[in-house]
């Protein structure tokens, strides 16, 4: 039957895929153009792909990098291999669900994200963790998958704040652990402001070097890929369809923040290093007909 596909999953679910073309009225280009009216990007936009083409690689909401990120050029076709001759940058985000990413800058000044570690992947209930629990995992991965590497760590600037209970900061814990395990700790703060990090990420995503994107992600970094695909998105004001200029805190925001600290450090010109923590009060209005791009 046109528009209906069926398959069985390994877990015994019979899946009916019901595409809009199952309805003969919806097969005409005229109907599709009308239905796409109000959706950002029309029939080629992500909203159409997700809602009408049943494309599971597109997230709902307002993706932070909807315009800049293109899967075909930013996600490598094969897993990216570690190059022992190059420095390894680690990007750290702290909090209750800390994350870490590993990256290298190749000889063409392309930043390659090779590895990620998350303590919560967004599936199922949120699992709390902390930097002390994550450190052994990070050092184990670093020694096993990046033997002989020299590491430079870029971390959330909030990590320098001392705890009110024991007076230790996340960076103190990192320093002690890294000094003991790898013999040194080279920990630097990522850009303080969201706008500086965002500008740097935009710059990295839109720059081309020798015909390839200046930022490449290994397909093994599934949380980063999903984050760029749209799981890293702007925070909605309630269920209003209005979005603040700040990203939503979710499972994907932590590895994305880790990536931001590395990108922010490597793709920010010194003259463009503003300390701009003023919140954004820009709002993006969704389509009033509820079939709009984002909800």
């Amino acid at each position: 039957m046109i528009g209906i596909e069926e398959r069985d999953t390994q877990s015994g679910i019979h899946v009916f895929r019901i595409h809009y073309t199952a309805d003969p009225m919806k097969r005409s280009v005229e109907w599709q153009d009308e239905a796409a009216r109000g959706m950002v990007g029309g029939r080629t936009g992500k909203a159409w792909r997700r809602e009408m083409e049943i494309d599971w690689t597109v997230a709902s909401g307002l993706p932070v990098y909807a315009e800049e990120y293109v899967r075909d050029i930013h996600v490598a076709k094969q897993p990216i291999e570690y190059d022992p001759s190059l420095v390894v940058y680690r990007g750290w985000d702290f909090g209750n669900t800390p994350a870490c990413v590993w990256a290298q800058m190749d000889s063409l000044s392309r930043l390659l994200f090779i590895r990620e570690l998350v303590t919560w992947d967004g599936r199922g209930p949120q699992r709390s963790s902390n930097i002390e629990a994550m450190m052994p995992l990070v050092t184990a991965i670093s020694s096993a998958e990046f033997p002989g590497a020299h590491f430079i760590d870029y971390a959330d600037p909030a990590g320098w704040s001392r705890s009110q209970t024991d007076g230790k900061s996340c960076v103190d814990i990192m320093t002690a652990y890294l000094s003991a395990t790898q013999g040194y700790a080279d920990i630097r703060p990522g850009p303080m402001s969201w706008s500086a990090r965002n500008n740097a990420m935009t710059r990295a995503l839109t720059r081309m070097v020798s015909g390839a994107a200046a930022l490449q992600i290994s397909p093994t970094c599934s949380m980063l890929v999903e984050g760029f695909e749209g799981a890293y998105k702007f925070k909605e004001k309630g269920q209003s369809g209005l979005y603040t200029g700040d990203p939503e805190k979710n499972a994907w925001s932590h590895p994305m923040d880790g990536a931001h600290y590395v990108v922010g450090a490597l793709f920010t010109p010194h003259s463009d290093d503003p300390v701009d923590d003023a919140p954004h009060y820009e709002y993006y209005e969704r389509s009033p007909n509820r079939s709009g791009a984002y909800y």
């Binding site: 877990s11 899946v15 895929r17 595409h19 809009y20 009408m52 494309d55 597109v58």
Partner: protein, 245 residues
């Protein structure tokens, strides 16, 4: 029914038992109704309300476009659905799937005895809304008298929100539908006959909810999972065999 003057004394025990089963018990397994099948019920008895315009329309079973039935896919799904116990529908928007399933869940409790069904959403208010006056209650109230003159009495109980109900109970069949929320222990405590999980990929507690309905699936119950594509959801992992990651 056995005739008033008949005596059971001169009927052999087995014959009596057979008569009892066929006359008393068997009719309870399937309540009487005027429909040939579920599609016949949908075609003749169900009316829906257009969410955008508020217009009340008959379930569009016979609406044509360029010589083709527009909603023939629903007829196909109605026929295919009972062949599988756990069904997922990954769909484009506005394909009438939720309306179609709600109408079938209502039909189920009006025609099957002792069924306990669940309609589940992310939040209880949303589940209750699906049972409420804009959805299932609307369908029940608009079944034409001429089509189903003595339709079973269905009670909508325990108000939740402006237009929602927590329970729908059919007195004739002793069957019921409960509104439940994602992750609720209700889903684990009961073995349901049917569970409708609406917009599952957008639930906050997908993995937990999936685990909670295992008593239903293992107990022979049926599940209908309605999905709009959502990146990074547990539903995606489940439907595309990525749950091991």
């Amino acid at each position: 029914m056995a005739g008033k003057g008949s005596s059971t004394l001169d009927i052999p025990v087995m014959e009596y038992a057979g008569k009892f089963l066929s006359e008393r018990i068997a009719p309870r397994a399937k309540a009487t109704h005027p429909f040939a099948d579920a599609w016949d019920y949908l075609s003749r008895a169900v009316w829906t309300k257009d969410e955008a315009s508020g217009q009340v329309r008959q379930f569009p079973a016979s609406v044509m476009h360029d010589g083709e039935l527009r909603f023939d896919y629903l007829r196909y799904l109605t026929a295919e659905r009972p062949k599988h116990r756990v069904r997922a529908y990954e769909k484009s928007r506005r394909m009438l799937i939720t309306w179609w399933l709600l109408a079938l869940y209502l039909y189920d409790i009006m025609t099957e005895h002792n069924h306990l069904n669940a309609v589940a959403s992310d939040k209880l208010e949303k589940s209750a809304y699906l049972l409420g006056s804009d959805r299932m209650e609307f369908i029940y109230n608009h079944i034409p008298e001429t089509v189903w003159p003595d339709k079973p009495v269905v009670k909508f109980e325990h108000r939740a929100g402006m237009s929602g109900w927590r329970t729908v109970r059919c007195e004739t069949t002793d069957s019921a539908i409960m509104a439940v929320a994602s992750g609720e222990s209700q889903m684990q405590q009961y073995t349901f006959s049917n569970v409708l999980m609406d917009e599952f990929p957008r639930w906050q507690w997908q993995e937990e909810s999936w685990r909670n309905i295992q008593p239903t699936t293992q107990g022979g119950g049926c599940v209908d999972i309605v999905c709009t594509a959502e990146l990074g959801s547990y539903a995606y992992d489940l439907l595309y065999d990525r749950v091991q990651r």
